[in-house]
């Protein structure tokens, strides 16, 4: 047992932190947020060059990492800087699916930064259930509706889950298809997202795709990629929480009221210390989720559910307390914390919320 980062990961962390604090300033990000595409192709390329994407894949898959701790290191740094480029969905989530399905060509392109992807899986009534697929496919022809598809408009290839057999809610019978950009029968209603980036409602009307992996066996691919993505989401949120906590500490010691820094008022000081304690807890939860990503399924899932539940609670505490302790300034869009708080809060709406993971944890813990 040990808690030291390997030298390689330490280097990656340092490099990323330096690059992002130099280049991904609030002003840069606000311009990106206001842009039509909601992302910067330049930043994407530069980060890909720095190895952000390569770190998410194993050497076998063409990368140089791919373990839980690699994912955690990368996304914690992206989270710290409030990066809105869709590395989580476009690179990690979709890349993992393709890598496990053995599509090495596309994975290579992803690692090089030259391919944008989107996963069209969730549907208007599936909420956080991974197994509820009503979109159907006969042969290679897909019909259905997908909800809040992240990065859909920018994607060169969209991975679409469809039911090729079985009942809604069954794990068997879900097939993944690759649908190329501009494919006939795809319509999108795109919109920006609260925490940055864009997504779309996607309607599939007799759309042709090509099968990824084995027919009817898509669930296993989704589940495994989803586990990695949830670890990434937790790490990203942790990074954002660090920024929120640091901004708050700084503010409390700078801002004066009634003649003294407001951080010396005992009520705020004690609340700040509760917040810092939960930051330690969050760090541990992410460490565990990352560290057990390669463990057996039960150990992996127990720790992922625990982490996502804890991050939901700790994240809410940190973002709400950070705003409250700042006061009015935190309510303005131009202040750094506004974006960070939105990243933290909205992360509870991805890959299952606090309650969703609590229930899953209970089921596993009782088993």
């Amino acid at each position: 047992m040990n808690f030291e980062l390997t030298e390689e990961r330490q280097m990656l962390q340092d490099t990323l932190r330096r690059f992002l604090s130099d280049r991904y300033t609030t002003e840069t990000r606000n311009k990106i947020l206001d842009s039509e595409s909601g992302m910067s192709a330049e930043i994407w390329e530069q980060l890909a060059e720095l190895g952000v994407i390569g770190a998410l894949f194993t050497e076998d898959q063409g990368g140089f990492g791919g373990m839980g701790f690699d994912i955690a290191v990368v996304f914690e740094e992206l989270g710290r800087a409030g990066v809105v480029e869709p590395f989580l969905d476009g690179a990690l989530l979709c890349g993992r699916i393709l890598a496990e399905a053995g599509d090495t060509d596309r994975v290579e392109e992803i690692i090089g930064g030259g391919l944008q992807l989107a996963l069209a899986h969730g549907e208007p009534t599936s909420r956080y259930d991974l197994n509820r697929v009503q979109t159907t496919a006969k042969g290679n022809v897909i019909n259905g509706r997908k909800a809040v598809v992240m990065n859909a408009e920018a994607a060169d290839v969209m991975i679409v889950s469809s039911r090729t057999s079985g009942e809604v809610g069954e794990k068997d019978g879900i097939t993944l298809f690759a649908v190329e950009k501009g494919a006939k029968g795809v319509t999108m209603q795109g919109y920006p997202l609260m925490s940055g980036g864009r997504a779309a409602e996607v309607t599939l009307d007799d759309v042709e795709g090509t099968v990824i992996g084995e027919e009817g066996k898509g669930y296993a691919l989704l589940e495994s990629a989803n586990a990695a993505a949830t670890v990434a989401q937790c790490a990203e949120t942790l990074g954002a929480m660090h920024t929120a906590a640091n901004l708050t500490k700084e503010y409390l010691m700078t801002r004066k009221q009634f003649g003294r820094p407001i951080g010396t008022f005992q009520a705020l000081a004690h609340r700040m210390s509760d917040l810092l304690i939960e930051m330690e807890q969050a760090t541990s939860a992410v460490t565990r989720a990352a560290g057990y990503l390669e463990a057996d399924a039960k150990m992996r899932d127990m720790n992922i559910h625990a982490a996502k539940n804890l991050m939901g609670r700790a994240g809410r505490l940190v973002s709400e307390e950070a705003i409250q302790m700042h006061g009015g300034i935190a309510m303005t869009q131009e202040y750094e914390l506004a974006h960070i708080a939105k990243r933290i809060t909205m992360s509870d709406h991805r890959f299952g919320d606090t309650d969703h993971h609590l229930e899953k944890f209970i089921a596993l813990s009782a088993a």
């Binding site: 609260m194 997504a199 409250q324």
Partner: protein
């Protein structure tokens, strides 16, 4: 004690309901229900409708247009108002400036300004907060220097809600810098069309333009616009802060909010069943519903003790704290309820739009409301300030 409405109270409620049934425009109510934002016209239109009914300013003295409703009647009106998704009246003139004028203004000031509020000639906003002052109101820096029959005002106000619509602002200004902080403050009415007044928007974290900065550069204000005595403004401001707090608990808004959460959770599916049947979500809803039931009664107990239907000092602070906690919790439940559909966001969603929202619940702006309503515990005397007041008064420390 009796928790039931008397026959008279029930009759009054029927009257209120008949009014809303007849006079409240359905589209307007729908905007309120969805929280998609009201235009200036929407708000002025509703003020005119209430004024025609004689119900625009229930808390004013009868001679100026008040209704002389008792505490229970006010409560009934507020409750029905929220239930029908009627817009809230803009409080700065009606509930904040007017009581100060009644109590401390001259007869002339009352006769001149009050009718203009009622008929919509003036839209008032409030100039209290300043950058860097926050809850420490007495440290304000905006200066007014007497020159002949005018004051010359220089300085800056911030967090001025709906200042972009206003033509008049009531301000706390410093008229004497040689005395203790709270002693050199005056209460001034300023025409915003005067040269030197500039309004700059502040965009809130949910993308809305709701508050503003107001800058004063050598603004000339006639001395007859001074309310009460020079350097006594702090007294008037405090009166306002501790007395005129009707509907501070926001019970009706919370009740409407819970109804929305339940409506969504009955159609949103989770694990193949309506979310409302999920025990963990149901428990969250039930807890806040139980708290709200109690707070509705706390509110009634408190305001029924006060002759004017407004909560007195420490009780107002209690209602403010608990009321905001409950409202914010409901906002949190609403964003949870819609699941992945909390994520889509465009500022049109909260600023009025005819575009269909992407989600199945018509609930696009719910996450935005969650963020926007973090303000409830910050503005208008933060919950920390309120807790300090409660502790100090109740322990006599």
């Amino acid at each position: 004690m009796d928790l039931n409405y008397t026959d008279e109270e029930l009759a009054f409620r029927d009257e209120v309901r008949a009014f809303f049934d007849e006079k409240l425009d359905k589209d307007l109510a729908n905007k309120v229900r969805l929280g998609t934002g009201l235009s200036k016209d929407d708000m002025e239109g509703w003020h005119a409708t209430l004024n025609a009914q004689g119900w625009l300013v229930p808390n004013w003295p009868a001679e100026f247009g008040g209704t002389e409703w008792n505490a229970v009647q006010r409560h009934i009106f507020d409750e029905e108002s929220a239930r029908y998704h009627a817009p809230r009246t803009v409080p700065f003139g009606f509930s904040m400036l007017a009581p100060v004028l009644h109590k401390f203004g001259s007869r002339e000031q009352n006769d001149y300004w009050l009718p203009r509020m009622l008929d919509g000639t003036d839209w008032w906003c409030q100039g209290y907060s300043e950058p860097g002052a926050g809850s420490d109101l007495a440290s304000l820096k905006t200066k007014a220097v007497r020159e002949g029959d005018h004051y010359i005002v220089n300085g800056q106000k911030t967090w001025t809600t709906l200042g972009q619509h206003a033509n008049m602002i009531f301000c706390l200004v410093r008229t004497d810098s040689t005395v203790k902080q709270q002693e050199g403050i005056s209460f001034l009415l300023i025409d915003m069309d005067t040269p030197g007044v500039e309004v700059r928007p502040i965009i809130l974290l949910d993308g809305t333009h709701e508050v503003n900065e107001v800058w004063f550069t050598d603004v000339k204000v006639p001395v007859e616009n001074l309310v009460g005595e020079e350097n006594k403004g702090w007294t008037y401001a405090k009166y306002l802060l501790t007395h005129e707090r009707t509907n501070i608990a926001g019970v009706g808004y919370s009740q409407a909010g819970i109804a929305t959460v339940k409506r969504i959770a009955k159609s949103e599916m989770s694990g193949g069943k309506p979310l409302m049947q999920n025990p963990h979500f149901a428990a969250r809803v039930a807890q806040v519903e139980i708290d709200l039931m109690a707070m509705a009664t706390t509110n009634l107990r408190i305001i029924s003790r006060a002759a004017d239907g407004a909560a007195p000092g420490i009780e107002a602070s209690m209602l403010k704290v608990k009321g905001t906690i409950i409202r914010q919790e409901i906002n949190d439940l609403a964003r949870r309820a819609v699941g992945v559909y909390a994520m889509p966001f465009a500022s049109e969603m909260v600023e009025g739009s005819n575009e269909p929202l992407p989600d199945p619940h018509d609930a696009g702006p719910l996450a935005a409301h969650y963020f926007n309503n973090r303000k409830l515990s910050i503005f208008g005397g933060s919950n920390e300030i309120q807790r300090g007041i409660i502790a100090k008064v109740s322990m006599g420390g």
